[in-house]
Symmetry: C2
Subunit: 278 residues, 2 copies
């Protein structure tokens, strides 16, 4: 494993108990499998299925799960939603349309906050998902504490079940890890340049440009210098990048201004000095 593929520790630091995912009467094994894969992507493992139409186990589910075997092997099958949620303390019902049920409606991000805060104290929670065709009925929604819905385009609101599972699982992990990503730009491997080094590069560049009377008329020099410095300030240069840029300027400096075509060495460019010191 190279140093650049190392995984940041905080991406694995989760203290909250992960929620269960309950699929109510799913019709297609493929959807169970892709839901399992989406769960595994974000660290969920407790998949419960209520009355799967085509029975269980399902080879189609296992194939679609793309090696999320630990989720598939751990699946529990129930014959009612009541039985599937019996050991949980807080349940979200996911639904894509408004209900007659007077229950709070949350986004997946708000739901994740609640599920993580309960999960940190070790309490068991779950997300209940409905059938492919028509979701959950009102009695099933009534079993839940609150409703989750996604901020979809109201004109194209039909989401695949596995996609809905994915977004809830994504928000859960994002919240549980406080947004930790598996990797970031490493400041250790790419240390930002010290201001002094950046300044010496600026002076090097500006001196080189003075030599070829780039700043014309001279009274425009301060303005033009500021423009150039701003360009490189925005780039938040690393140590290594400053050295590379000094090498570039040094290399260009060795070309005389306006060489004639028949002059030897007119098109010659030196390789940049790897140390960046001219």
């Amino acid at each position: 494993m190279s140093r650049n593929t190392k995984i940041l520790d905080e991406a694995r630091q989760i203290v909250a108990r992960p929620p269960a995912v309950i699929l109510c009467e799913p019709q297609l094994g493929e959807n169970i499998g892709t839901a399992a894969r989406a769960m595994a992507n974000f660290g969920l493992t407790d998949l419960r299925i209520v009355n799967p139409r085509d029975g269980w186990p399902s080879e189609k589910a296992r194939a679609a799960a793309s090696r999320a075997d630990h989720v598939i092997d751990n699946v529990k099958v129930f014959d009612s939603v009541e039985a599937a949620i019996a050991d949980l303390t807080f349940v979200y019902a996911t639904t894509a349309r408004s209900r007659e049920v007077p229950k709070p409606v949350r986004g997946p991000d708000e739901a994740a906050q609640k599920v993580v805060s309960l999960g940190v104290t070790g309490l068991a929670t779950g997300y209940l998902f409905g059938r492919e065709r028509w979701g959950l009925n009102n009695d099933e929604v009534a079993l839940a504490d609150e409703i989750v819905t996604l901020p979809v385009d109201p004109d194209f609101a039909s989401l695949n079940i596995a996609q809905a599972v994915l977004v809830c699982a994504y928000e859960w992990r994002k919240t549980a890890t406080a947004g930790a990503l598996p990797f970031r730009l490493s400041e250790e491997d790419n240390p930002p340049a010290a201001k002094d080094d950046v300044l010496r590069f600026f002076e090097h560049l500006e001196g080189a440009l003075d030599n070829v009377t780039f700043f014309r008329p001279p009274e425009r020099r301060p303005h033009m210098v500021r423009t150039l410095r701003n360009i490189f300030q925005k780039a938040e240069l690393t140590d290594q990048e400053v050295r590379a840029l000094r090498g570039v300027v040094a290399a260009l400096e060795k070309r005389r201004p306006r060489p004639r075509k028949d002059e030897p060495g007119a098109d010659e460019t030196s390789a940049p000095d790897p140390d960046g010191d001219a």
Copy 2:
């Protein structure tokens, strides 16, 4: 359309220009189609494909798009990433693993902030996604301004392309609509009860319990009253719910305490008074 399926206006209010989605050399038409569907779910329409392995148009893509025909019909095909992003001003490269490229790495939520803020000023942005098998190469990543990666479980990080598109599109719309959901619990349809009505319900309940000498010993009454009141305070009762509860208490009150089994009417319960007034 019933009053409960009405869509909240703010779920449609988007001023930011939506980003383009660029798929680099996708192999499977199904993945192009499910990516198109995920885009449509969150209001994106500009899908660009660089060198699709199986050519274009693709019937498999159209079938997998589940009626996101407006995205499929609008697809543009390019023969290089450079051409596909030429008109954009800010591009995110999505990648699941760390790179040798010293570029800022963002989560999908951070990327959405940038894309929306540029999009509000009308600037064109895009997300670049790599091949199913091995993503983007370093030269392609170098064409982008910044990197996006998802906060996945590092031990199960392999995400389907359409799933990655979905999460980016979801974060974009969530940010662009400031988290507006298509529906919420309507306070108009379910007005919260006035404190006065809640208090009258409490007094009704407590009077009924006094009549059956529920509060024993009497010095425990204040504590038990607080316990009961807290239960119902937490429920954030609506107008209608307070009326229903008063109906329940009134109905129970009509039963004499401790009826004997052989007494007529022992199991009789009156229907709750719909007005809730005993």
